[in-house]
Amino acid sequence: MSSVAATTETAEHGHHAHNDDLLALLKAAPFWSTDHKVIGIQFMMTTLLMLMVGGALALGVRWQLAFPWENMPFFGALVPATAGGQIPPEFYTMLFTMHATVMIFLVIIPILAGAFGNFLIPLMIGADDMAFPMLNALSYWFMWPAIACFGCSFFFGGGPAAGWTSYPALSALSQAAPGSGHAQTFWLLGVTFVGFSSMMGSINYMTTIINMRAPGLTLFRMPLTIWSMFITAILQAFALPVLTAAGFMLVTDRILGTCFFVPAGLIVNNADPTVGGGQTLLWQHLFWFYSHPAVYIMLLPAMGMVSDMLACMCRKPIFGYKPMVYSMSAIAGLGFIVWGHHMFTSGMNPALGMTFMISTVMIALPSAVKVFNWIGTIWGGKPEFNVVFLNCIAFVSMFIVGGLSGIFMAAVPVDIYIHDTYFIVAHFHYVLFGATLFGVFGAIHFWYPKMFGRYMSEGWGKLHFFLTFVGFNGTFFPMHLLGVAGMPRRYADPYLYPYLEHFLPMNQFMTICAALMGFAQFILIGNFVLSWFFGKKAGRNPWNANGLEWATPSPPGHGNFDIPPVVYRGPYEYANPDTEADFWPQTQPPNPAT
């Protein structure tokens, strides 16, 4: 069935067939295309733009923490919601809510699954496009209503006021945050749209990977990138409907007065007591049933891509290919039964706390196995210290920190204290920024030649890496200390409390580092855009890599492969003694001598 769909699509786009240049394709179809590469690049551009928006919101948060109640420079006067440049507490709440929303729903998930998933899956499995190209295009275009809804939530009232976790009753009752107006409703609609977008993507990825692999590409010859995208798609398909449904229930709680999440008898802001027999904890269960697997949706594809990049850059097979696959599967499987660790202090049955602690602690095991295998991959390799490699090492190094700090909050008694403090903020930034984003930065540099036929600048790339790495650690490492000191999250002014007063200078230092890191991203954007025009030209296989994607022209034309690929081996045959070269592409027929 999938191949039928693909054939139809190819016929439909027959007028592109003469056009074997992706750049020309981009120009011919600047807004609408069902070509997976164009959609991938569209996702990439959109998410990079959103990365800058999300970063700007974070800098607003950092400004308030470093210089509480002082006028924001430059931007303060431009934003009407600020009180003459000051950040009022409602605006502060909006800033951190929207920072998380933009970064999670509009940057990390779509840049991994949307941009790289789209661009890489057909290329790396030797297919001419996705199984459902139209669905694929829709998955991109459903991002825009989501962006529009999130955008509306900025401008209606004071912005959403319940954090990205949107716990009721704060998110369910409009009188609980009177300043936010309809913003919370728009926010929830935005989440619904990104849900549709991701769901269309994940169905497509699963179908494509199962049905459209090139001859000879058995499951255990697939690159780890494809494994990770496959597992992620499964995670998404099974976890996401829960959030989409829950979000819709919360919308009806807000606008129709259903009481799924609102218990009776609450007196909020002197309004009449609520009626109905809902449960706020139900929302937390449903929300985290998606949002914990979502953490792995935000991590696994980066793990897969880093595995491929490390093997190529070290000119060495990946260490423990099958353990890598099994540990990713274990992470995904366990990822479904750990959601309660976000709720240790919520008052749910304490016996549940114990079971969730054990499953959560055990999820550290496959993560550890992966770290050891990455180190094993570098061991004895011949690495070239280029931008791709540096970002991959940063990924491994930062993931170690983020993984280890996770053990503290998995342990329930310790979590009683550090829950909702900056320790948590430190932990998830080390995982989602320190690991995932460095992996993404590496992947952008690695696959850019395939996308645009040119290299990105190595020098600017290294400068970007250096500034981002230093800024990142300067911003987020001290957060561990703030957390141990008991500084709660989401406080517009922690210095109201004498035991936190002396942390002002540390917060100022962190804000300076955050600004450094934020402005360093302009280097990435500049490098990305300018290399398109001025980058050094790249051939088919600029990194001497083994994967199928490198058998296509750079950039590949519509339909991808000029020679239909046949796969003879796995993707990690670097340094194989049977070949003269230190790599052995998957498509190269076996050596007649052997």
């Binding site: 919520s346 054990i358 570098i378 210290f385 090492i393 000191a485 230190d582």
Partner: protein, 293 residues
Amino acid sequence: MKWFWCLFFAFWPIVAIVVCLLAPGNNWWFPGEAASPLGRRIDDLFYMILWITSITFVGTQLVLAYVLFKGASDTEPGTANEKAWFSHGSHKLEVIWSSVPAVILLFIAFYQLDVWAEYRVKDAFPRKRMEAVFERIHQDRQKNDSLALAEVTARQFEWRIRYPGFNADGTLKALMPDPQPTDLYAVNDLHLPASAPVMINLRTQDVQHSFFLPELRIKQDAVPGLVIPIWFEADQQRSYQLLCAELCGWGHYKMNARFVAESDEQFIEYLRQLEREQNEDRVDDAPDTDEEE
């Protein structure tokens, strides 16, 4: 340049360790030693995990630095091997580095269970010691009455506290689930006996809040529609910080309150004082006593 990057990646873990070693001396650490027995046990668990994770952190970062330096030197011109080490992995190593962490992680998990049970599982609460407090403060309790001494209700953006009132014979009533005419009220000021496990019933009137006593390492969400009993024990007779740890609206950051742990007598005297203030009607019962304060 590659040597620079090797040093770069070896340098940052050292900075991290140094910062952590300097932290307690600079007051970048816990807000004082835990002020409760349970808090000290939580701190001990924290330090145990800190040791295990620190050793792992140092170990993995050392190995990472080593393989980087080795990789850098193996790519120097003129090294013997043209190609990298051709290896797809080692089954033995996989077994070792799966089973050793598994044992350590399971140990960490099971080692936590006692403290968690003591804090949250009702059957494991120190019930005998709680009942001893009731005797000392002459509380008139029946067997099935609540173990709680006070009810704390969070609302945007303050803490409302309800204590039981006194009987005519001077004994303290038991705390009833619903408000009673004799109940005593205070805002943002929780007083309870020190050096004994004391229990409160935690509720919220509106949205979700979280009851956080950082010095005692106690935190519990106040969930709409639920009444959640929690207990804690303050060692010293002094005032502790009480704040909200769950986003509850624009004023989340200013749910500033205090918890005062005091002697049994001071606690009773505080309740008497509340009773006097609440019953104060400014009507002169006896004209010559109105100036006494």
